[in-house]
Amino acid sequence: MPVARLLAADTANLPQHIAFGLLAVMMSFSALRVVTARNVVHCALYLVMVLAGVAGIYILLAAEFLAAVQVLVYIGAIVVLFLFGIMLTRAPIGRSRGLDNDQRGLAAMVALAVAGLLTALLLDGFGDDRIDLAGPQRSGDVGLEIFQSYVIPFEVVSVLLLAALVGAVVLARRD
């Protein structure tokens, strides 16, 4: 079995592999539930699970700062926004049928095709390439990178956020 063989070849990182496996199972299940659950609020909560799992993945990849941002921004802000959205639109809080439209079959087909294609491509393209996490990637490095190489995109993003803010206010204002 190739998975076992690959794991055996990388015994030094066994704890990480185990952690990754747990996270991956949790995230895959939650992601599936996000798009299939019949209760809108449950969907949001499953989304929290996925986002938290992503933060865990970031930690596995030695990106602590990003993990922190993930928790703060995604779980702290965006999910709350979603919950507000659910409530403001008076979506049925409890179980409800009809959350899906009638092209589920087509959607499942397309999604499966995408998944199969991606899997085949990735296995073909990256085989058993390893990530060598020798040196830690400090948050300071990220900061330096942002404010040295990417300072203009950074400023542009700030303008974008402002524009989004104004846009959201204009759209949602009741008048």
């Binding site: 592999h17 798009v35 990106a63 921004v73 990530i131 759209l171 949602a172």
Partner: protein, 99 residues
Amino acid sequence: MYLNEFLLLSAVLFSCGVYGVLARRNGVLVLMSIELILNAVNINLVAFGAFHGQVDGQVFALFTVAIAAAEVGVGLAIVLLIYRNTRSIDLDQVAQMKG
């Protein structure tokens, strides 16, 4: 750690997101599915950054997070507007582009 572990996980998240975007009728749920897709992309970015030993991947992921926040803000505002105009967030009823 193998690169493919992260990439395959991200592929799974991405496909789930695609399914959600296509199959969900509720506007808010569609937005959530888009978040799944964006997170899948972020995992890819960070994994490739780590693979190449660069922090650029993380920087890009940060930008994606910021843009995702903006996107959710505007997206929810649009959903609210649709709801206010049609008393429903059923995207099947928003079919003014029918040819």
